[in-house]
Subunit: 210 residues, 2 copies
């Protein structure tokens, strides 16, 4: 399999406090209308999604300020399972890389959302580490947890303020262990909002045959 899906299905995505899970409404039914059609309502930060700077930065950039090249790049999996404050060496990380932090937390997100969203036990990047990520010119930070940090979200502000986009609620990062891969973040396209649900996947790089 060349492509690895890293995206939660929106029906199964738990919602953070104050958010509502996605809702679907039937508009047309085959037996009655001859076709099936639905309407969807969802908060833009439920499920696998991208944060644009405007989410946390007053007057910050929105989706129209970015292009597809800002959403695609070489991926690097960083195993942080069991860590609380995340601070790791960035050996080999290059400008434009996409860092995926593997906490393992989203494996049980649908079954136990209280635990998933528990701020006291949530792993978080340190502010110092976030500043180093900005300095290194990383393109996107992704994590298989609900957030890269907890309220009042200083790490969000450091990353988004420093030009690094954030992708949260990833799934299935363990499938990337030991692989070279490229990451594609494909947000629902809008112009001017704070975040967007995204289909996120990895393309495995074929190693050259000897």
């Amino acid at each position: 399999m060349k492509y690895i899906d890293l995206t939660m299905s929106i029906e199964a995505a738990p919602a953070f406090e104050g958010n509502k899970a996605a809702e679907f409404e039937c508009l047309a039914d085959f037996a009655r209308d001859g076709w099936n059609e639905h309407r969807m309502a969802m908060d833009l930060h439920v499920g696998t999604h991208i944060d644009f700077p405007f989410h946390m930065i007053d007057g910050g950039k929105v989706q129209k300020d970015f292009g597809l090249d800002d959403f695609i790049g070489r991926g690097r999996l960083i195993d942080v399972r069991g860590m609380f404050e995340i601070e790791v060496p960035l050996d080999g990380v290059e400008v434009g890389d996409i860092l995926l932090f593997w906490t393992g937390r989203s494996d049980s997100a649908a079954e136990d959302s209280d635990r998933y969203f528990d701020s006291a036990s949530s792993p978080r990047l340190s502010e110092k580490f976030a500043a180093e990520i900005v300095r290194r010119g990383v393109k996107i930070v992704g994590i298989d947890s609900w957030s890269v940090d907890v309220a009042p979200f200083p790490v969000h502000k450091i990353l988004l303020g420093g030009g690094v986009l954030i992708v949260e609620n990833l799934l299935n990062l363990g499938a990337l262990v030991g692989r070279e891969f490229k990451v594609f973040v494909a947000p629902l396209r809008h112009e001017s909002y704070d975040g967007a649900p995204a289909r996120v996947f990895a393309e495995l790089v074929k190693l050259a045959a000897c």
Copy 2:
């Protein structure tokens, strides 16, 4: 530029009769709350989207029956500008290809949606041609118009019933003239509905240097 975006922004996407355009509701405002956040509501077939078989086939397949490999493949641009009934040779088309029919109609979709959705003048694939597409093992048919045919949608039923997915309301197909490219259709991930908004883009294939 290696990636070409073929997706309408959802705010600018016009809605077909009976559909509502996308709506955004403010949930949090920076001045009041310290961050910005929105909720979105949209019909699943507004803007650039994919149709799954369940849209038009009773008991048909839904998104969970497909994987990423079903959404990605070699693209072929077919210039059908000015044609009404679409029927063209499929020379060189191979199993698994993604055919993009370039009508040019979506260029003015946002400015004149009545004309865009006008069934009487809408180009449509012929039923015979749709059957030939199924026989050839094409993966996806995409078009820069609101539909591949008009009510009662026989071509939808032939394609979806024959295992060919449909992508509608594409944009910017003219940027692909003369290029070799791969198409990525990245639908918002859900399990069991009839269609999904999708980010659709082309990756240009670099020609080998002599």
